[in-house]
């Protein structure tokens, strides 16, 4: 596709240098909270609350990190987050590929109705049906369990949608026909032909699912009362209420929660941004 000639976009009323300066200033503001968080996490208590505020620590220390693990089971919170996010990611990928492949490559009665139903309910905010979902889990005793926490994150309408689009446009029907002519079963075709050809969409969905589950807050807040089930977000919040003034430790805990997302972003930046861009084009 031909792209817009960028030079034609210059509005002209701002000199190039001013544009660059504003861009740099904006970027600095965007990363400031993270830099501030990281810097504070290395400050000894005497340097955290000082006036005027100083960005970099004079005598950097790891004491806050040891302190955080000593004050609350952050190792457990971290592993809980990893486990819940990994489980949700795997499940979202499986359900998205299965449903995406069927909706993209087969015709059957009710196909459109079901697909539209999956898409439209995605608009309804989770916060508005969390109460009935909670009530639903009481009789089966899933309140205060890992499976209860992870349940709402096991399916992703956007994932089904993206996989349907991707499989519909990248997997040629001739390939499926050829496999059928060779006597392959439909299930074999799905697992061995369609799934391997949709890895790029699968990785995008996987990233979204992981990030979404990692940041999950309101549902775990409702359903996890036992501290041993807390994810990082809940653990941090509880820790904050108990140690609201110890910002050094709070920032160390926060860094632990942000770090995996930052690492993932550094490694997969291009894919993440492209996937986000895709939501707009298709939306």
């Amino acid at each position: 596709m031909r792209r817009a000639a960028p030079s034609l976009h210059r509005t002209g009323w701002l000199p190039e240098a001013a544009v660059q300066a504003l861009l740099a200033l904006g970027a600095a503001i965007m990363v400031l909270p993270m830099v501030w968080m990281l810097a504070t996490s290395f400050k000894p208590p005497t340097e955290v609350a000082v006036w005027p505020p100083r960005l970099l620590p004079h005598a950097p220390t790891l004491a806050n990190y040891w302190g955080v693990f000593a004050a609350a089971p952050f190792g457990r919170f971290f592993l809980n987050s990893v486990g819940l996010s990994a489980a949700a990611t795997v499940c979202v990928i499986i359900t998205s590929v299965l449903a995406g492949a069927i909706f993209a490559k087969y015709r059957f009665p009710g196909r459109t109705v079901l697909f539209v139903c999956i898409l439209t309910t995605a608009i309804v905010p989770f916060e508005s049906y969390m109460i009935p979902l909670y009530i639903q889990l009481i009789p089966i005793h899933w309140i205060n369990t890992y499976q209860g926490i992870v349940l709402p994150y096991l399916i992703m309408s956007f994932g089904i949608f993206l996989l349907r689009q991707h499989i519909g446009s990248t997997v040629p029907n001739e390939l499926l026909e050829a496999a059928r002519a060779d006597g392959a079963s439909e299930w074999w075709i799905l697992v061995r032909v369609i799934a391997p050809l949709s890895t790029s969409a699968v990785s995008a969905i996987g990233i979204f699912a992981f990030i979404q589950t990692w940041a999950a807050f309101i549902w775990p807040l409702l359903i996890a009362n036992d501290q041993r089930l807390f994810n990082m977000e809940l653990g941090l919040t509880a820790f904050q209420f108990r140690f609201s003034t110890d910002y050094g430790k709070l920032m160390a805990g926060s860094v632990l929660s942000v770090a995996p997302m930052l690492v993932a972003f550094l490694l997969l930046r291009r894919r993440i941004i492209e996937s986000v861009a895709l939501t707009g084009v298709k939306g």
């Binding site: 031909r2 792209r3 817009a4 000639a5 960028p6 034609l8 976009h9 210059r10 509005t11 904006g26 970027a27 965007m30 400031l32 909270p33 993270m34 501030w36 968080m37 006036w51 005027p52 505020p53 359900t95 299965l98 449903a99 069927i102 087969y106 059957f108 079901l114 309910t121 608009i123 905010p125 916060e127 508005s128 969390m130 109460i131 009935p132 009530i135 349940l151 096991l154 439909e186 299930w187 990030i211 990692w214 940041a215 807050f217 309101i218 409702l222 990082m232 977000e233 919040t237 910002y247 920032m251 805990g253 926060s254 972003f265 993440i272 986000v276 861009a277 707009g280 084009v281 939306g283």
Partner: protein, 311 residues
Amino acid sequence: MSRTLPVTAPAARAPARRVSRRWGTYVYCFLVLLPVLALFAYIRLFPIARSVVLSLYNWNLASSHRPFVGLANYARLSSDENFLLALKNTTLYSISTVLCSTVLALPLALALTRATWSSTLYQALYFLPVITPMVPMAIAWKWIYDYNYGIFNYLLSLAHLPAVGWLVSAGVALWALVIMGVWKILGYNLILFLVGIRNIPAVYFEASSIDGAAGWARFRFITLPLLKPILLYVLVTATIQAYNVFTQVYVMTLGSQSAPGQAVRVLVYDIYENGFHFFRMGYASAEAVVLTLIVLGLTVIQFGAVRGEEA
């Protein structure tokens, strides 16, 4: 299309085989979809439907007497001061966050259109807040907003202005949340606008430069109209997201939340409080249905606007 089999004898067997094969395909499709649809129904469809039903009952978690009350919950909502305050705050928060983040993201996207390494770098930096989890960032912002040692009050002191209680004064806390909300979503809007601008065929700009259009005129009459579908999409998705604001309110302003002043009461907090502090599940569900209706209304408006554009 008729499904009756042809009556001519020689042709009869082949279509029969085709029909049975077609039924085999249907069965296969539903078998594969079954686990997905079952999960979908259990965690989404049933709860959504049930929230409407619950809203018609006086459904208390702590009581087994749960009478049907019709629309009484909705009638009570219309005079519930907490709910009305929450509705007002959430609406104000959503409109401000969405407008500010859109107005800032659009010129940023224009400045970053050219595919250079610096554009890539800036995209990444501006996008960073989007992928960071809300709780730790809310804690960091709380520290930035701190009355005694925060950066914001330090900057005010440099300008010889009095310190502001960012998260405790009723009039200010909402705007403190808006600032953080804009910070969080700006990069997302930026990326979508960037895609939109880059997808505008160059021929439009060539034609406009032949006609002598430049600068503001080009933006106003070429870029903006062609960007309209993306713009609408951004506005609506950002508004929907903003209406669900909860986590940062909980982390940053709790403590003042239940205080008499009620620094920032938002819709989802009100639902949470009614449902899980007072166990008024029916009443909270009525609020939840109102939230859904607001969001659906916004979506319908978007579809209408885009369709109007295409017609």
